[in-house]
Amino acid sequence: MKKNLSKLYLALVMLFLYAPIFVLIVFSFNTTKSRSVLSGFTFDWYIKLFHNELILSSLWNTIIVAVIASIGATILGAVAAVGINGMKRLPKTIVMQGTNIPIMNPEIVTGVSLMLLFVFFMVRMNLEMGFVTLIIAHITFDVPYVILNVMPRFRQMDPNLYEAAQDLGCNGASAFFKVVLPEIMPGIISGFLMSFTFSLDDFVVSYFTSGTTQTLPITIYSMTRRKVSPEINALSTIIFLVVVAVLVINNVIERRNLRKRGVIK
């Protein structure tokens, strides 16, 4: 009885979470633009979507920005984490509090504040907002996530390891690369992935800092404000499928790793 109740509850929440998405998907195959009556099956909206230059170019922009910003943020953040780890307690606390600012600040305030900064300096230097400002903004909100992912790894690591490596004849650098880096690598990777997805998906901060550059979320926003075409449903479907694929692959790899470790143990 109790088990059935919890199953029912789980099912209801799933319905709530997935119903809108499946409605979007179903209507991406609809022959007419109607959003409530199904009138036939077609792939037309997908074909149109792939001929829509605006969407393709903004997708390209999004990917470029996300790749550069997440790599930049990962390097900056990982290096910073090593440095912060070496700090004394008080400065460490202060820096970590500062790191929390962009996470806890509302996105719109981050966006607006960066916009004010960029405009203030850009106008004086005769530059305009675009790719560069977008990447800077994205790195800014990405770095904290990298640091927060890497820092716990240091705590889990045995501090004696590094010294042991040095005692065994490694110099500082090689001890770092051979001992410390492999230990914190999982944190770096998950930080990178997190930054990458945040950058891909970011709308609010980009909206205020993109100038004339259009990323996919910005294009989607302007699409939802105009004559809405089922192309947008087609786009949702594709994004959904990509996300499902990535997560499934990720999950499979994780399980395999877990099993391997289980075997070793």
């Binding site: 290096v79 504040s113 004010l116 949702s236 999950n251």
Partner: protein, 268 residues
């Protein structure tokens, strides 16, 4: 020596986090010509009702998220460990869809001729006005931010030792007593970080209210956006509103932090 490595990040942080925030404060207390003034901040009080509405709607959404997420997480934590990560993944999956598309999906469901009203129409009910109401805005917030409540809760509850709960039962606690005296206190850190993670984006959103609220349920986010890139250009006023928003959030965080001194809190 190692400390030097943090320098580039510190410089970055000062230039792109601290300085912009200082600029917000600077714009908030100056006129368009750069003269010092308190007028902008005074003008914010004109929009007190928007602040009240935003806090109210965000609070309702946060409570609803908590009410939905808590039982869900408890159920999740009881599932066989080998399925747990899969089920969790399925629950979190919609979060990876673009935020605007998810909100747009609700637009199509809630309309007067949308699917929900069509469905109700089959039973001779409605049509009800669902879209462009405060209820729709709350729904949008709950839908979009529910995962932010589920994750921190899950991270905490899954780590609670099952034997503690069994012990409570053995010592004669009823289910309700176990919940109030054992489970709830142990999960407070998760509850608190869940509340912050839902409340902060909910109070400052401008998309959800615009898409689902029909433009007549303005929230703080809309107000700020209007001053910078919208229909009433006035960045100084916009900065003042942002400043007040930050203060409100800071205040709420201070309150919430009192409940939660777990330094190892896992973010997402």
């Amino acid at each position: 020596m190692k400390k030097v490595l943090a320098a580039p990040y510190l410089v970055w942080m000062v230039v792109f986090i601290l300085v912009p925030l200082i600029m917000v404060a600077y714009f908030a207390v100056t006129t368009a010509d750069g003269a010092f003034t308190f007028d902008n901040l005074a003008a914010v009080s004109q929009y007190a009702n928007i602040f009240i509405r935003s806090i109210w709607l965000a609070a309702i959404s946060t409570v609803i998220c908590l009410v939905i997420a808590y039982p869900l997480v408890v159920i999740l934590a009881r599932i066989n460990v080998s399925y747990q990560s899969t089920v969790l993944m399925i629950v979190m999956l919609p979060m990876w869809m673009n935020f605007l598309l998810r909100t747009y999906a609700w637009m199509t469901l809630l309309g007067n001729n949308g699917l929900i009203n069509m469905f109700l129409g089959l039973f001779g009910l409605g049509p009800f006005r669902l879209l462009n109401t405060q209820g729709a805005v709350v729904l949008g917030m709950v839908y979009n931010y529910l995962p932010f409540m589920i994750l921190p809760l899950y991270n905490v509850i899954v780590k609670i030792d099952k034997s503690v709960i069994d012990a409570a039962h053995d010592l004669g606690c009823s289910n309700f007593q176990t919940f109030v005296k054992v489970l709830l206190p142990l999960s407070i850190p998760g509850v608190m970080s869940g509340i912050t993670m839902v409340f902060v984006p909910a109070i400052s959103t401008f998309i959800i209210s615009r898409m689902l609220g029909g433009g007549s349920n303005l929230l703080i986010g809309d107000l700020i956006e209007m001053q910078f890139l919208g229909n009433s250009y006035n960045p100084n006023l916009g900065a003042a509103i942002s400043l007040v928003l930050m203060v409100i959030i800071l205040f709420i965080m201070v309150i919430l932090n009192q409940f939660d001194d777990d330094e190892d809190r896992v973010l997402m």
